[in-house]
Symmetry: C2
Subunit: 480 residues, 2 copies
């Protein structure tokens, strides 16, 4: 067994297909339609189809399939909900797409231990549903109804990370099928442990390049006794960010601190028939006991009123809260409504909060100078913000301009002691930043990849690549 350059990756032949059918029966497909839907997803990056899709329904089947692929040097691309944004599921070198949707069992909910054991194919919404009968919830909320396995693999976060952390902070253990087909469990249900290398975190965010995640033990949280939602608009971006900084250094229990800029708010007004001031606006959510929330409301009033606020409304009443949140929920379709011919090219900078304002201001200047439209939405309590650059993918010149803007935003984040991706990952789309952001650490990542996946069959060409198999870096991206 040795590390294969990708041009030596094997194709899937008829005998291999027969062996596959022996493992999964008819849960295997090469239909054009299925190959297509597994390739074209939310990303704006070029996509390449896999050669075959399989739908295993157990960890043992996953293991058998991976063993087969290992023996035949065939790439394995784990697939959850297909909602990754940076090309994590494109089949650059062909191979087998492992769709885990049938592995959707919620195996156990340990209420007292605040823990759920779920298979990787479980969608977020299904877990929410299963938890309804308990006092618990799972806080990680990316923008899509993603699968748990995908969320682990991308180290996802989203709206609640300010208070509850990201996937990184909400895992107790993983079950993983290694590149040789062996099955491991990376931890126990103990809340903490000091025994050995932290494999749970090694596989979290590895984008399927070290193995297939088949199961996760998730940390759950008690639903708060009371929730307060608030929306406040400001004439100036610096006031909005100032309020964020103030909230973060107070002891109000903020769970969500979302910022939408004037472009996004105008789009939402027009899309949803609302009349918010078209100006930088914060969408805030606070969790606590009823008394907590009452106290927090007073503090929030004090903070907001020390800035020039155009609009401020808050409520702890569920119906009012939902109404307040309606605008936030429709942000993505509202964005797209700004340009009929466009798709969204999303940036994902994350910087220390003290560097947030300068990064946002500079990014918006880049967009303006490039003559583009790009509504901003940010999980700014973590210093994370997205610009959704609206581009017509068939307009090459415009695509290049947009990529140039995205490039500047990523570079500036790294130069601000931040990261080019807060939550969307690397995939193929951000490979060009790995060296810049990680320096010699990238070599350590490569050593780990070589050690654990010596044949390089696990999602090759993503996250950690080697000189001779580096996919073309897109125009406007920095080179390694």
């Amino acid at each position: 067994m040795h590390f294969l350059p990708n041009d030596q990756m094997k194709r899937i032949t008829s005998p291999i297909l027969e062996t596959l059918a022996g493992i999964v029966g008819d849960r295997v497909s090469q239909s054009d339609e299925e190959l297509m839907t597994h390739a074209s997803v939310l990303t704006y990056h070029d996509q390449k189809r896999a050669e075959v899709i399989v739908y295993p329904n157990s960890t043992e089947e996953v293991s058998e399939i991976v063993q087969l692929c290992a023996s035949e040097s065939i790439p394995v691309i784990p697939y959850g909900a297909g909602s990754s944004l940076e090309g994590q599921i494109t089949a650059i070198y062909g191979g087998l797409c492992m769709d885990l949707r049938l592995m959707n069992k919620i195996k156990e909910i340990y209420e007292e231990d605040q823990c759920a054991i779920v298979q990787a194919g479980v969608r977020r919404s299904r877990l929410d549903q299963a938890l309804e009968r308990t006092a618990l919830f799972f806080p990680i909320g990316p923008g899509f109804d993603a699968s748990i396995g995908g969320m682990v693999s991308t180290r996802a976060s989203g709206i609640n990370a300010v208070r509850y952390g990201t996937m990184r902070e909400n895992l107790l253990s993983l079950e993983v099928v290694l590149p040789d087909g062996k099955i491991i469990t990376t931890g126990t249900r103990a809340r903490k442990s000091s025994t050995g290398y932290d494999l749970t975190h090694l596989f979290t965010g590895a984008e399927g390049t070290l193995g297939v995640i088949t199961e996760a033990a998730l940390k759950l949280h008690f639903r708060p006794g009371a929730v307060l939602n608030a929306v406040c608009s400001f004439a100036r971006m610096e006031d909005a960010v100032g309020v964020v900084r103030n909230i973060l250094s107070s002891d109000i229990n903020a769970a969500q601190i979302e910022l939408l800029d004037e472009v996004m708010m105008a789009a939402i007004n027009s899309y949803s028939g609302l009349d918010y001031p078209p100006s930088p606006t914060l969408f805030l959510e606070f969790h606590g006991s009823a008394l907590d929330i009452e106290e927090g409301k007073g503090r929030l009033d004090d903070i907001v009123s020390s800035y020039k606020c155009l609009f401020f409304e808050c409520s702890s009443n569920p119906i009012q809260r939902e109404k307040l949140w309606q605008a936030r929920v429709n942000a993505l379709p509202a964005s797209l409504s700004l340009r009929k011919d466009a798709v969204v090219m999303t940036t994902d900078a994350c910087v220390p909060v003290s560097r947030l304002l300068e990064n946002i201001v500079a990014a918006k200047k880049d967009v303006a100078e490039a003559g583009l439209i790009a509504p901003l939405i940010g999980h700014v309590g973590d210093g994370n913000f997205h610009l959704g650059i609206l581009v017509n993918p068939s307009n090459k010149e415009e695509m290049a301009r947009a990529k140039g803007v995205a490039h500047k935003i990523s570079l500036r984040a790294i130069e601000s002691d931040g990261t080019c991706s807060g939550e969307h990952g690397i995939g193929t789309g951000k490979l060009g930043y790995m060296k810049k952001e990680h320096g010699h650490s990238l070599s350590v990542m490569r050593q780990i990849k070589r050690a654990l996946d010596p044949q390089n069959i696990m999602n090759p060409g993503k996250l950690v690549v080697f000189e001779y198999e580096r996919p073309n870096i897109q125009p406007g991206r920095c080179s390694e």
Copy 2:
């Protein structure tokens, strides 16, 4: 370069000492006294002296020393405060002890970003002192004034983990000198990132077997507006644990949930001249706003009064709080006062909270059946409890009996879907449990060790060992 069996490790010769002096000047020692103090620490395990102690004062010096050791195949044992409990700093195969005490700079405190950059040799108490002028604190509190580097390497936690997590949850990034002397930084100051393998967590808890940690970017927290301390005693262990379970599923902001058993309380009474009921007692601390704390107090009253409580006192007044905490603070010397000829052999089981009571009850039965004395103290909010078995190290038969008890406690924890070490680590002392707890994951850890430290010079014989270099497993321990 190839992976060296440890019997081929080289000794430190005069020319090597001369080269060392060229790097660190006179900050190198082979005095008997220094070699001795660097070997005999808090652990009850057999200790072996290093051949030389060096005191680097910069990351560059650490790098040069490691390069020298790599070129000469000499073991490197990173040393912080010497307070590890499982033999992490014993020089099994000789070699160089790298004492990082001179690397004690607090390089930067970013108040707004709630982050401090500190060198590995900084002690906890010094960081606390430096943070006094700010509104921030660092919550990780093991029982000793440990060094930050050591706390990272052991994945330490202690009293505040219920609310603030362990070292694992409180790191943004590490600077590490790799086994080949190269220097890496594992992350940025962004609160979250999805770019590449999580090297920060890989080095956290690695016990110096993958490199020397030289610097850490720590997450800080705002000091709570108000603090409430409470002490409550119960006739029965099940009532004490019942209160813990109730607190954990309420929304009181518990920061510390400590349990001391009747043996420990009797020892404290006698040592400190106090008159608590000699029965299972909870020491609780709650953090929040003043109103929070007031509300929490009411809830705590409700919970405690639904159990048969022998004693209950709580206060948010600083002087009263300190008085209440006096008993807790003196637990270790009080333990030792129970037997003049004894040292403490500490167990470190951590289990899901739903399995806590059965594990504590069974462990206390083991102790009684073995005719030993072992006060219990637990960070039970995380399911972690220690029995401090009092043993006379020169009484071999008694040592074997004590190890037998410790062995049963560790095994039972693993069988309860927990871990044999919640916070003390593996070192040499718990090597025998790695296979039992991790199964095939141990092979993955070995692959990582081989990939990153191909010469096996970094703290060899600890945490992850190989068949041919396995140190003698102690009597009463399970074998691999």
